[in-house]
């Protein structure tokens, strides 16, 4: 039972990172993109292939995963970010499927549908952490969640974040305010891919085996739902959304009902949850957070001058 709780915490952590990355492009920049699973898969497979073939350091694999995802983000972002709304969604959806199909069919590199097993466990100094060591992984993964949460909070409270929000609200007005909209959209998109790649790398090192089936369109949609359910444009609510959806879909297993309730029930609960949310609270669980500039400025600047 406690093992299962840790497993849940690990899953929530990984999906939180994915939801945060999705929130950056959908919640803040207003781009409807559904290919987070594609970037995630690139991260997963980069780490898996690198570790199996070279037996190198995990942290190098982590970096490589992030960089490959980022490059994929640039590759898809540069041509497709000229599109808006539904058209962008379709283009990115296509990209997600391409990644999955490349992984399934590039047998030599990815072993196709068989997946990759025997990924060496994480080693820090002389300690080896196998995936039975769930408490360690839970902490390890949540450190990343915290890092990305703090980083994104910082990012959106800057000029950069304000530019992204301006693009979401009105792209033409934003460009008339001196914002290079293409540059900002592409960089938000690739940054999001970068973060998703890291999530993938963490997933690979935890599971120690990967198979391509799970990185499909449904997973991207699920990540998008976490953001929408939690509340768009709020980093904290993305984590809440991730926690809610992961728990809902794992709950029957957690309570030991999985033999009685077929796994498809998850999707029924999940769909019901979404419908209820859209009716009663379409803005998500938490609303968009407003930045209180006076507070920010008084706290940082005016108090020391006047107070001391």
């Amino acid at each position: 039972m406690s093992n299962f709780v840790f497993l849940l915490i690990i899953y929530i952590g990984i999906y939180s990172i994915l939801a945060l990355s999705q929130n950056l492009i959908t919640g803040f920049t207003g781009l409807l993109s559904i290919c987070q699973a594609g970037f995630f898969a690139i991260g997963v497979y980069t780490t898996a292939i690198y570790l199996v073939n070279t037996n190198g350091s995990f942290f190098l694999a982590l970096l490589l995963s992030a960089i490959f995802s980022l490059m994929a983000g640039l590759l898809i972002g540069l041509p497709s970010l000229k599109l808006r709304g539904d058209y962008l969604a379709i283009a990115t959806l296509g990209f997600g499927e391409i990644v999955k199909n490349v992984i399934i069919n590039w047998d030599k590199l990815t072993r196709g549908p068989l997946g990759i097993n025997n990924i060496p466990p994480l080693k820090i100094a002389s300690f080896v952490f196998t995936n039975s060591n769930k408490l360690f992984y839970a902490i390890f993964i949540w450190i990343f969640v915290l890092i990305f949460y703090l980083f994104l909070e910082r990012l959106i409270k800057s000029r950069f974040g304000r530019a992204l929000e301006a693009i979401r609200e009105d792209e033409i007005a934003a460009s008339s305010m001196g914002i290079n909209t293409t540059l900002y959209k592409v960089s938000a998109f690739s940054l999001s891919a970068f973060i998703a790649g890291i999530a993938g790398s963490l997933w690979a090192i935890y599971h120690q085996s990967v198979s391509p089936q799970s990185f499909d369109f449904l997973m991207s949609v699920m990540i998008l739902c976490m953001v929408v359910l939690g509340g768009m444009g709020n980093n904290f609510s993305s984590i809440i959304g991730a926690a809610l959806i992961v728990t809902t879909s794992e709950l029957p297993r957690l309570l030991g009902f999985s033999s009685i309730i077929p796994p498809q029930t998850n999707q029924i609960i999940f769909g019901l949850l979404l419908i209820l949310m859209m009716i009663y609270r379409p803005e998500g669980i938490l609303k968009r957070k407003r930045i209180n500039f006076e507070y920010l400025i008084e706290k940082k600047f005016e108090k020391p001058e006047g107070g001391i």
Partner: protein, 259 residues
Amino acid sequence: MSFLYTDRIRKEFGGVIAVSDVDFNVEKNTITGLIGPNGAGKTTLFNLITGLENADEGFVFFKGKDITNLKAYQITRLGISRTFQNLRLFKEMTVIENLMVGRHFKSSCQFSKNRFLNSVLCLFNIDKEEKDIYESSMKWLSFFGLENYKHELPKNMPYGKQKLVEIARALCAEPEVLFLDEPAAGLNPTETMELLSIIQKIKELGITIVLIEHDMKFVMNLCEKIFVLNYGRLIASGTPEEIQNNPLVIEAYLGKEHE
């Protein structure tokens, strides 16, 4: 040579010639009006100058530099700001945030020549930078007497105030030329009079103003030079008196008398 001028600029949409070989020029520190019946191509001309549309032919020069077909953000950075005919405020952002976006590229933080790299590096210095952006935005907000609205969402404000916010946002970029697309449309007479004095105050700050307006009294009171467009062509230009007595202008607005 004029401060800002277009040279035989031309724009077609499909078969429709929206702007046809227009020579439009603006002198420094003046208020220039652009009038004409609906669909005459006034907004298209604005869009061509401010980089929202690409010209098919012709040139735009600003301070002796060719700025034809530059991107909108590049033109804004050169010192040309604008407002829009149908408000284009950032609706989910507060008034002060709207203004702070207007200050986007005017950063006090300089680590690198490359703007993008700079904005990333400045993440380490954002508190200081935010303070500067906030304070200079507040300066413009109080210029318009809108301090009380700073945490309001634009959509909850009266239309007249929203229009002022949009002008304030454009001014936050500290432009040399300000383009106003129908600033008085939808305002009541009192608000129009207020706007009139505000525009004069802006001009006194040394900012050149170009405006499109249908309110003739407003235009005639405010502008030193007026250009008249009809069916994409420039049919007249001159002082308000010259325009009022120009038979071509009267014909464009009222139609020709039957003989």
